[in-house]
Each structure stands twice: as structure tokens, then as C-alpha cells.
Symmetry: D2
Subunit: 341 residues, 4 copies
């Protein structure tokens, strides 16, 4: 059975497992104070060209969004996000569970627009009753977005400028960061992100790790006693090496970039093949998630041989399906899929 269900269906890059084996019996202290975490943090700061960055490792994406948002917002603030943002829809209300409203803006292929953000903020501060409303306290964007799309450098600068004007942090969810950085259609690099965002995370779970996300606070703005706040939410890992070793490996010899590039190449191979066969796409995605439109009976037929993700109905007879490539996708799998279609 072929599967393009998601970018987390395989285990971890084999180099990570090898490092686990090599270092297994070393005795190291817990809770992230081990040398692997230290080394990984140094490498990430270097990759971000951001020596003052504070890096913290967490286990998963929703956990990271919840940690960052709930510890950086003041109690009377909410976070602005696209209506389709992961925090708005697919985190089981984790932001609200931790006491904060998600203030939704319209989405444009998964992205928010600077002019709509500005209008929202202006309108809030002009409202005479705003003391009875939730204050906008942060802007959340995902890059790539949930639709695989990317912000351009110019778009990011525009959002960043507005955030600075209104003195609220810009936060980037980089669950699939590698696939953004390695897209051929981007002018946004990790140092640019570190410059324009106040906080972001580099996703591991979907880019070669068994688990793990690296949060980067770029402006000396990590909340005080962050580790205690992490513990309090049950998110502190005793064996910090689990996360340190993985990120240390991913940021050695450009492994993170190389495996991300591979996923992009596989997506390109797929796109070319699909176009040749005349398939339509829901939108133009420059990253590892591709959204193909299938006729319902064909989708039904495919189900028996390949796992895709149903995305949304497009008309009575068609629906969009997501095909996700990853660091682990094999060329043969793409060819087999194209064969099937």
C-alpha cells in the first residue's frame, strides 16, 4: 500500500537513530541541560545568524504553539491568525484551553494579508469599547501555510513592520520549515526569518525527526522561567537528549536542508507527472504538500491502493486531496503513484 497521507508516516532519518545508538550509554543530566542540547542550540543559532537567540526544544507542534502563545500573551490578549490557521482549527482548542482567544482574519490560500491585519488593529484601537474586548497581542502565521503556500520576503516584511508598529510579536509556526526554506520559489532564508520574526519554531517531527520542535526566541524575549512554565504544562522531557541529539544531528552537515530539498524534488517530480496527465490542482503550492483535484469515482478507486488525505469538496463530482512528500519519500513511490493515476 502506497501512502502519501502525511509527512510523518515514517520514523526518523537513519543518522538520528545511529546517534542514539552511539551515545546511548553516556550518562548525561536531564531536562535539557545535557551537552547534546547545548550543541544543537549553538548550531541552530548559527544557522539563524542570530547569536543572541534563545533556543528551546519541545516535543510537538500543538504543544509548541500552546507554549509560545500562552506564555507570551498577556492575560487580556489574544492571538491573530488566519481562519484556516492550525491554531484556529486543528489543535482541539489548545489556545482557548489555555485562556486566550484566536482572533481570526480572512485567509488567502492559507495566508493573512498585511492590509487586513492593519485594518484589524486600527479598528480595535479606535473602538471606544476596546477595554471590553480581547486585545490583539500577537500575530501567528504558518510558513509553509496549511495550504503549502509561502510568504514572500516582502510580505513578511510588511507583517513584521505592522507588528513592530503595534508592539506585538510576530510568531511563525514552522512545523514544515525545511520545506519552505528549500522551495525553489522562495526568497526567505532562516536568517531573514530570525530577523523579521520575534519567535518561530523549526519543525522536526515532519522533517526527519521522531519528534521535536526547536523554538527560537530572537529578541531576548524568552519568557522568564520558561522551563518552569514548560514543566507546569507537562511538556518538560526528563531525557532532554531525546530532543538534543535529534536537532544536533539535523543541523550537522546541512542534513536538515538536504532532506528537505529531497522532499521538494519529489514534489516537483510529482507535479510534472500530474500536469502531463492533465490533472488540476486546488492551488499552486511550491512546497511538499500538493493539492490535486480528483473526480469522485477515481478517488474511490485509488483508496484501495494509496492513502491520500481528503481535503475539501470542490464540486458535486470532485474533491481536493492532499499528497504529501517528505524527507523519506522514494522516487519509486512517486512513479508508482503516477502509474496508478
Amino acid at each position: 500500500m502506497l501512502s502519501f497521507e502525511s509527512d510523518y508516516v515514517e520514523g526518523a532519518h537513519e543518522k538520528i537513530l545511529q546517534r542514539f545508538l552511539e551515545t546511548n550509554m553516556e550518562k548525561v543530566t536531564g531536562y535539557g541541560a545535557d551537552p547534546y542540547c547545548e550543541s544543537a542550540k549553538a548550531k541552530i543559532k548559527k544557522a539563524c545568524a542570530c547569536p543572541q537567540a534563545e533556543v528551546y526544544f519541545l516535543v510537538g507542534g500543538t504543544q509548541t504553539n500552546m507554549m509560545v502563545i500562552s506564555t507570551m500573551l498577556k492575560p487580556y490578549e489574544g492571538v491573530i491568525a488566519a481562519r484556516t490557521g492550525h491554531v484556529s482549527v486543528h489543535e482541539a482548542g489548545a489556545i482557548e484551553f489555555h485562556g486566550h482567544k484566536v482572533l481570526e482574519l480572512p485567509q488567502h490560500q492559507g495566508k493573512i494579508q498585511a492590509d487586513e491585519l492593519r485594518a484589524y488593529l486600527e479598528s480595535f484601537w479606535q473602538d471606544e469599547n476596546h477595554e471590553h474586548m480581547v486585545f490583539p497581542g500577537m500575530v501567528y502565521i504558518s510558513h509553509p501555510s496549511e495550504y503549502g503556500t509561502l510568504y514572500s520576503k516582502q510580505e513578511l516584511e510588511a507583517l513584521s513592520d505592522i507588528c513592530r508598529e503595534y508592539k506585538i510579536p510576530l510568531y511563525m509556526d514552522g512545523a514544515r520549515m525545511g520545506y519552505a526554506l528549500m522551495s525553489r520559489d522562495t526568497d526567505v532564508t532562516l536568517p531573514i526569518i530570525a530577523d523579521l520574526c520575534d519567535v518561530f519554531y523549526i519543525g522536526g517531527t515532519k522533517v526527519g525527526a521522531l519528534c521535536g520542535e526547536a523554538v527560537v526566541f530572537t529578541k531576548n524575549n524568552m519568557p522568564a522561567h520558561f522551563s518552569t512554565l514548560v514543566k507546569q504544562r507537562g511538556a518538560l522531557v526528563a531525557k532532554g537528549r531525546l530532543l538534543g541529539i535529534q536537532f544536533d544531528t539535523l543541523f550537522t552537515d546541512d542534513l536538515y536542508y538536504r532532506i528537505s530539498r529531497h522532499a521538494i524534488e519529489m514534489a516537483e517530480l510529482l507535479k510534472r507527472g500530474l500536469r502531463q496527465k492533465g490533472y488540476r490542482f486546488l492551488l499552486e503550492s511550491p512546497t511538499n504538500q500538493q493539492f490535486i483535484i480528483l473526480e469522485n469515482t477515481e478517488a474511490e478507486r485509488l483508496k484501495e491502493k494509496v492513502v491520500l488525505s481528503f481535503w475539501e469538496k470542490t464540486d458535486e463530482n470532485h474533491a481536493a486531496y492532499r499528497i504529501a512528500t517528505s524527507w523519506a519519500t522514494k522516487k519509486e513511490d512517486i512513479e508508482a503513484l503516477l502509474e496508478l493515476l
Copy 2:
């Protein structure tokens, strides 16, 4: 440098790492619906002799305590625990952060006593103002306790009887469960625990896993939509295989028991050696944590060669230190430590 700092200073049992390697490129679905989780659950239910049990894997101990307690309590309830319980002292207020009071009872070498529990419950229900107080909604015990001590079967039965009388669940924190089960001074088995407790967890992090705890709900009492509640607290792992493979391996061929027994044997070797040398203990611990009393200058001298955990001052010139053996402790290390003392 020798280290007996804790039972989580090494990585994972090598069989676990081997299983990671062997299964790495299999494509499996996420969020705990993979075949490894299924297999591990079946083995745990069998080990508990509890076919109706519901098993759920989480990442760490504080996370597990927070999940179980905050989802099983009603909003007006708190959890009863020993004053020295992990939830009372060392979880950065995770229980209170999630809205519930820890109702503290006196501790006796880390344990609570049935008569004091009963007196507390009676007194609460007799109080005319109890509608203005926090209702006792659960009893939390740790086994082994934070002092390495164990409840006898009779003690557990007494607690369990009271809980049933008052219709509140008995919850056992088994972060070091293996070391309890394999102690030579216990008459408590996993099936007995499954019978007497309403919910408990089998610790992985401190007993051979890289991370992971297995929660067991024994009375068809797993909270509805538990997975959504886990997601909401940021505790849901995308690659459920990370946890499933580890517990499947630990519960294959009695591995969990065998490595736990090894830690007990190492603790016994240590105890014999220390007794021969005339050392005193803070208390008699039948498990892998030993609490030795050191004269301050000796403790100072040892610091340069071995890592122990400072526990508490016992008088002006002495203090208790914890020495933890584990699944990974080598006989040579025990001998080296005895040599140093």
C-alpha cells in the same frame, strides 16, 4: 565521573533502539493508531490481567499526572496526596495550573495512611461549610514513593476500600513501577494494582525507555474523547510509534521486569557494601533509590568523583543523599562507588 544522580541519565534499552531501526521506514498512521501501539496495549492489558483495561501512551510523568488528574476530577474537586507527593511539590504547580487543588495529607516515609485518609474524608463531609471548600475527588499515591518505599497489599486494599466507599478513584503514579514490582519486599503485583486502582501508569522514562508512560484505566473509566483532551493540552504525539514501539519492546519477553530486577540487584549489592562499611540510611528502601547519610566533609570530597542527589539535611554535620540505580547500572559502577566511600 561516576553518576548515580537519577534513573534517567542513560538513553534507552538497546532492544528499543534496535526496534526503531528495524521498523523505521514502515509507513504507519499517526496519533497512536499504529500497529505498534495496538500491540503494546494488548501486551500491557495481558500483563495486568485486565482485559477491559484502556491503555494510553503519554510522554512524561508530570504530563501523565496532569492529564489523569485534570481530566478525571470534576471542576469542584481536588486530589488528595501526601505532602511529599510528586504532584504536591515537584511539578511546578501543574495540577493547580490546570485548576485543581492538591489536598495534602501527612506523609510517612513518602506514603499516606488509610486512617488519616478516612479521617480527612469524614471530616470534609461532616463540615457544614463543605460547599465552600474543595471536594476531595481522587486519591493520588506513588508506588514506589518518592522515598523509595512501597505500599503492602494490605495497605493498598485499605486505601482502595476507602476510595470505593467514598466513590472516588484511586490513582497510582508508577513512574518507577518496575522497581516496585521487582522488589523482594513486595506482595503487590501488576494484576493486584489493576484490581485495586482505578487508574495508574507504568513508567517508561525511568525504566529503560527514552520517554513514555503507559496510563491504564482499569474500570472502563477513561474520560470521553480522551485523545482530544490530550491534544488540547499539547500532549498528543504525531508519531505514536515513538511510544508504541518502546512499550511493545518493554513488554515482550518480560524485558520490563528483567531490567527492573537488575536495578534491584544493583541496589542490593550497594546496600550490602554500604552496611559493611558502617553507613547509615535515612530509611529502609526496598527499591532502586537508596538514601545514605553522609558526613558533610565526606560529601564534599565525593562530589568530585561521583554525582549523587542531595536529599535533605539531617543534622548540622550530616545530610542524606540519594543513590539511584537503574536498568543501566553496571556492577563495576557499584564497586567503584563502594571503593570511593
Copy 3:
């Protein structure tokens, strides 16, 4: 200075103050167990023709919404509301602060539509990923709405039917309930509301009381130990007589209805006058809140002589302003206002 700023700018109906004086030195027990609360509850149950109703008095509207919603929802659930609902916009995020998402539906003159509600619920339950989403657990409506509009009996029945089909409670925010019941354009009575809604509240603060709202649970569905939950949120009033006496007075000799009818009559007088003078309205409101469109320079001029509430810009030169009549509005004030316009 004239003021039509809101329906809470005066104190309390004089009969309430008289009752305070008459009963002042009687010694009664606290926390709502006094005879005035008992009497008021009995009168409200009778007015609702709902003998099994459970009535609870709280201090204010946001407090009541927060109490009802946060205690009736399960932790994985959110509340469905119109995008313009009070809970969505003007409660400083009280619902989210207490851990729950407001799931927003489009608004139609402040109301939600049954077909859109049904579509939302259907879509949620069909979504394969709904375990990662916030479950719809309640429907919130305000009657009158924030725009002064009313649900017809048929509309209410349609919403109620859907809620019963999906087994979620229908909750009506009746901050201005009296003005709804006494409108000439309604076929909805208090017994109908008690029949169709699972819980609602009868507003006191905006209808003649100094403070106070009466929550009515109609289906034996008051959350267990509700009083403890109220205390826990700091909402329990020691001198329950403060609320009991007010509602007992309001529900004696139809006072609540009579003063509400007066506000409606004042609004009608105003509307007639405004129409004669050729003023336009933002929408047709059958209750005590009227939304008049003013040219900007006229609005500026009026500011010095009368307080109105700015509502929203309608074009470059015009904006809508709210004029609220109340139980306390005098005919002379309406005439003076018409004079000014």
C-alpha cells in the same frame, strides 16, 4: 444633559429600594438561602410555567454567560454563537479565559440562522479530523440580539429542534429579556422560552434592578454543586438578599412586564417621531434599542446636548448611533430629544 447611552444609566425601580428599606434589619442567612431568594425563585418558575425549573441568581451578564457556558460545556467543547454575539466580542474573552472556544456563525441582524447552524454541525461530524477540533457543545443566542432584533417562535423552534437532534443545549442570553417579551412584534413568551431553551437568563441589570440576572435551568440540568462552582469563580454573593429582594419585587404584580412595556412605548414614541422627521434606521428593531443613521456633522452637534452610543460607520458622511430607552425613560426626554433632532 440628556442621555440615551444605555439601559443601565439609572439606579433601580423605586419599589426595589423600598423593599430594601422595609426588610433591611431582618436577619437572614447568607449565600442565597434566604426567604427572598426562595420567594423570587417560586415566582419566576411560575412565570415560566416551568415547575421543575432550577433558578439561580447572579450579579451581571458577562458573569452569567461565563458561569453557564463554562459549567455546562465539557472540556473539549466550545459554544456556537453569532459573530456579533456578546460572548464573541464584548466580554473581554471571558469564555476563552475559562477554557472554551466561541465557534462563530455568520450574523443576520444579530441573529443566527437554523440552516447555517445545521450545516455547521453536519460538517463538523462528517470531518474525519474532528477529534482534533473543538466540539460544538452548546448554542448561544441573545434575545433581543445585540441589534435589538428578536427570534420568532418558529425560528426558535427550528434552533431548538437542531439542538435536540445533536443533543446540545440551547442557551438564551436574556440581558434585555423584558424588552423582548413586551415587544408588539413577538410571538415568544416566557413559557415558550422555558420550553424551547435548556437554559436562559432573565436580565435584571438592564430592566429595573441595580444588579442581578436570574438563570433558569429548565430541564433538571443545573450542573452539580453549582453553588460551589459559583464560589470558585468568585461570583457568590454573601448577602443573597441583594438579588432575592430585587427579583422578588420585579416578579410581584407583573412589575417586570409593566416596566418593560413602558420602555417599548417610549421606543415607539421615538420611532414615530424620527420617521416623521425623515430619519433612516440601520435596521428595523422591535425593542428598546433603536439604531438611527446620522449625518456626521449633526452627530457632532448633538454630542453637546445628548449622549448616544456610536454604533458603526455606514458611509463616509454617516454613522449609526444607538438610542436606548429603558424602564426609566421619561416621555419628556423623548420629546426633548425629538426637539433637538
Copy 4:
């Protein structure tokens, strides 16, 4: 039936009700921005000899404790209190519901001791694992305490010094503040409290008001957007005049002090009478709450003629009962009670 059940069994001082009547039809703006709130704040600041004070009116005591503690603590902090403190025992877990642990110290007739406070703080900061514990972030004291006892100026200074040394606020719960200030055995005045405490509240509910407490932040330390935080917790009153008029009246012509002194005089009359009759007390209380020890059969007999509050069993045949005088207690009632005993 006589009643000494509590100090909140009567309504409000008649001057307050008169002011309600006199001002009833004035149109004033809502949410505490009315002239009565302004005037009351000015009078309280003057009474505190603290011109920089920020005063905020809330409805009840638990609400006030919850508001002050949950908005002044950082998320990783808890509040230190006596084991018998109101926040520890009788607020249904309101502090924990809002996410914070109550860190309990031993009580000495309801009070905490400076040396035990210092030892607690020293021990916390010396603990190597304190990042895994709840940080002490505030000290809570009640004055009078729940046992009617008072801190001396010297005791308050000692607590205040420690709090300043450790940079945490000292918070005084003054639910019965008037009875403390007017005791004959105190050297503590309102200006001294304003000087030594960082925040405190002046109780209205138990000292002549229908409801209401006045929080005083003395060091320019009112949390930002406090009003929004109050709204978010459902504690904002629309008709702020309800609170403003009451405190304005209480702080006009020393009314608050005069009625408090009356309660003290009534308590003294009672004490003298009881002593003459040979009754014993649980402890020596210099305020309006007296704790008398009664033989069980006498207590049983009294129940039919007078309401007292059961406090605690003192031996098999005796128990302590609380007799509370108040601003409203009549001399005849004291005499009638003495007659009965």
C-alpha cells in the same frame, strides 16, 4: 430568634439606602466611571494617607482575593498563606481554579509568623530543584484573621520587610478591616497598612454595605488593564454606582469607623458578660468575632433560641462556637443572649 451567625445577616447601613434613593434617577455612565466611584476613591485615598493609591471596587471577598492574587502573580508563582487562611480553605479552590497554588504555612491563632515565612523563602531559593517547584510570589494575610486576631504593627513590619527583601507583594485581606481598625488592642491604622502592604482591601460586605470591597493598590502596582481582567472574570458591574455610592457613604463623616467601633463595643459587652458567667474562650480575640466554648448539651439547648456558628470540637463534651457582632448588633440582643446562657 436571635442570630449571631455572622456579620452579614442584616442588609446595609440605612444611610446607604438613603443615598440610593436620593441619587436613583440621576443618569450616570457605567462600569465604575461614575462620579460616586470617583468621590469614594478620593475619600479612601485620603483615609489611607496614600495619594498615589489606585482604588478599585469589587463585589465580594472571594472575588477580590481571586482578582488580586490571580492578576498579580506570575504564572509560575503561588501565594503563601496560613493553613487556615480564607484562600486556603473556604473559597472552593478559587485560587487554584485560576491556576495558582496556595503555599501553606503553619497558623498561630490564624496568623503566620515572620520567622517561618523567612525560613520558607530561604529554603525555596536554596533548593537546587526550585525550578520544578511553585515559586513563592506573594504573601497573603487576613486582618483580622479568621480567628478574629490581629497583627501588631511590629509583626506587620517584620512581614513587610521580608516581602521587600524577596521582592514579593504583601497582600492583606481586610474583609473585616473596620473591626481591626477600631479594636482597642491595635496599633495598626489604615495609613500604616497602606504603607506596609502592597495591596489590601477594605471590606464592605461585612461592615455595613449590601455588597462591595474596595481594593487598594498602594505602590502604583495595579495590573495593566485591570478593568479588562475584571470583565474577563465576569466581575465587572455595569452599574458601578452600586459600589461607588456605598463606599462614598461609608467614608463620609467617618461612618465606616463609627459603625465598626459599635461592633467592637458590642463584642466587649458580650465578653464582659460571658466572663462574669464563667465562660471560657477558645482564644483571646480583640475584634468582633468571639469564640466561646460550650458544653454540648448547652449548645444543643441554645440552638432553639439563637443562631451561633459551630467552629470546632475542643474535647468529647465541648466545642467552640463563634459569636459575631456587627455594625447592626443591638445592645438588647447582647443582653438577651447573656440572659439565655
